[in-house]
């Protein structure tokens, strides 16, 4: 079967809406378009019923006790902001210290930065070369004035899956609230707020074949009951936690996306893992000096983040322009700084510039993987033939021994 170009292999950035999700959503744009807050007529009741059913599905999927623990938001950026700033504002009188990791999404890191300007202090835990946070480091970082620990379920660049169960044991024992940005891991790796003692969790639909613009914050309501201060003022929707007319089709699509995972997730993850292995085997079978970034075992099934030594990432992406992937190279960013995640992992900067993230998803096929592996290998060879670093490597010159002219 011939592959269709372009190929989308960047499923950490977003995903295609599953046709079954779209189908479930459609009626809520047309016949059932009511406002879920309208208490006085059938249009409103129908919308509200759809919202409540969606809440229940989401709650069930993450092991929450009830749908009332789900606060709908516009996505995970908003959920992260609400969790961190909302908790800080509510519990700020109790303590002004937070613990997070250096590889969190910017929605978490920049929320923390904002709090630092407001007099809070934040500990950014380092990660090892494996891209993992040491639970013991969480324990050591917790102080008497710590109110929140925020560690993501899975990283969006290197796909590493953190030990939430161990971290949750620590936070629970110390009486500190535990937030996780579960965006990348949900459906793809086990996640259960009860088992992991998670008190707040940020979710978004568009990474799981649902629509963009809808997400949720799980907020535990018992043992302990978590309180927060709303960051969006208005009509008092979502029990006052987040004002704004609810995105009914979005919520329905979000729930449908999770239902598909309930039914098909295990088989799908198995298949995607096979594709990831196939891609890795083909690339490393043909090319030397392909460095894996992040732990191999504790990783999302669809994630492959590798550095093709001696080849710059943006040049690589330009070479494979019919394949959508992403790179931690500085050249792709306005800041000209390579990925902070890879740097936090202690990766040599040149390797950070050479990194490519493949994100394999539901709609990728074996044929696509074969095509991508072939194309990438050929282009890496072409670019290495043009690379002074590769030539030096072949001549046995240690690149670290050279005095480079920094600029």
């Amino acid at each position: 079967m011939a592959v269709q170009l372009p190929i989308f292999m960047d499923n950490h950035s977003t995903t295609r809406v599953d046709p079954r999700v779209l189908e479930a959503m459609l009626p809520y744009f047309t016949d059932d378009f009511g406002n879920a807050a309208s208490r006085t007529h059938a249009f409103g009741w129908k919308a509200e019923a759809a919202i409540e059913a969606s809440r229940e599905t989401i709650a069930r999927f993450i092991g929450a006790e009830s749908g009332r623990e789900i606060v709908f938001t516009s996505g995970a950026t908003e959920a992260d902001n609400l969790a961190i700033k909302g908790i800080a504002e509510y519990y700020g009188a109790k303590g002004k210290h937070l613990v997070t990791s250096a590889i969190e999404h910017k929605a978490v890191l920049d929320s923390c930065k904002r709090l630092e300007k407001d007099g809070f202090s934040v500990t950014y835990l380092p990660v090892g070369k494996d891209g993992l946070v040491e639970p013991a480091a969480v324990e050591q970082a917790i102080r008497r004035d710590t109110i929140l620990v925020s560690v993501m379920l899975a990283n969006n660049e290197v796909g590493t899956v953190q030990s939430l169960e161990e971290i949750g044991k620590i936070t629970r024992a110390k009486g500190v609230l535990f937030h996780t940005d579960a965006v990348q891991g949900i459906g793809k790796t086990p996640f259960d707020v009860r088992k992991m003692n998670v008190d707040l969790a940020s979710l978004t639909a568009h990474k799981i074949y649902g629509p963009k613009g809808i997400g949720a914050l799980y907020v535990r309501r018992s043992r302990p009951r978590v309180r927060l201060v709303a960051q969006m003022d208005g009509g008092g929707h979502e029990r006052g936690n987040r004002s704004g007319t609810l995105n009914v089709p979005g919520a329905v699509g979000f729930a449908k996306a999770l239902e598909l995972y309930e039914r098909e997730g295990a088989a799908e993850n198995e298949r995607i893992l096979g594709l990831r292995q196939r891609l890795y085997d083909k690339l490393t079978g043909r090319l030397e000096k392909v460095e894996l970034n992040g732990d191999w075992e504790r990783r999302l099934p669809g994630n492959l983040n590798v550095s093709f030594s001696f080849v710059e990432g943006e040049a690589m992406m330009m070479a494979i322009k019919d394949v959508a992937v992403s790179s931690g190279s500085a050249c792709t960013s306005a800041s000209l700084e390579p990925s902070y995640v890879l740097r936090a992992m202690g990766l040599d900067e040149d390797l950070a510039h050479s990194s490519i993230r493949f994100g394999i998803g539901r709609f990728n096929t074996e044929e696509e993987v074969d095509y991508v592996a072939e194309l990438v290998a050929a282009e890496v060879e072409r670019l290495r033939a043009m690379s002074p670093l590769y030539e030096m490597y072949q001549e046995g010159i240690d690149l670290k021994s050279i005095q480079w002219s920094a600029h």
Binding site: F310, V311, E312, E314, A315, M318, S329, A330, C331, T332, A334, L336, P338, D348, E349, D350, H353, A385, M386, S387, P388, L389, Y390, E391, L399, W404, S405, A406, H407
Partner: protein
């Protein structure tokens, strides 16, 4: 980021990729940038006795704009006198390739690489003259200087 057609052309069909013998007296080598910064350019020139750049070669580790800048630079300096080649400005490269502001430094690197290759060549020549001067007559030296 959208690339200009000229960047794409040079990137897909780079001119003058390759390596010259850096031990050769007639070859000047410029190596600029740093792996940690994500860009390294090596540009080499072979200069004849009249000071004309007969051949220019490059290898670049960097983004598409960096590869295109070095490719274009080699194309421009080939056949020119080193004094003229030394006046090449990064702005000319940036303009020709239509580089956006964030990619200007790629053209700066190409300018630096050309200058550094010429400097290396001149140094080699100075050493050669100095060595030659020890045994050779003043007439030889003068003759050589006139041609440089």
């Amino acid at each position: 980021m959208a690339y200009s057609d000229k960047v794409i052309d040079h990137y897909e069909n780079p001119r003058n990729v390759g390596t010259l013998d850096k031990a050769d007296e007639a070859v000047g080598t410029g190596l600029v940038g740093a792996p940690a910064c994500g860009d390294v350019m090596r540009l080499q020139i072979r200069v004849n006795d009249d000071g004309i750049i007969e051949d220019a070669r490059f290898k670049t580790f960097g983004c598409g704009s960096a590869i295109a800048s070095s490719s274009l630079a080699t194309e421009w300096i080939k056949g020119r006198h080193i004094d003229e080649a030394a006046t090449l400005k990064n702005s000319q490269i940036a303009e020709e390739l239509n580089l956006p502001p964030v990619k200007i430094h790629c053209s700066v690197l190409a300018e630096d690489a050309v200058k550094s290759a010429i400097e290396d060549y001149r140094k080699k020549q100075a050493v050669r003259r100095a060595l030659a001067g020890e045994g050779a007559s003043r007439a030889d030296l003068a003759g050589e200087e006139a041609s440089v």
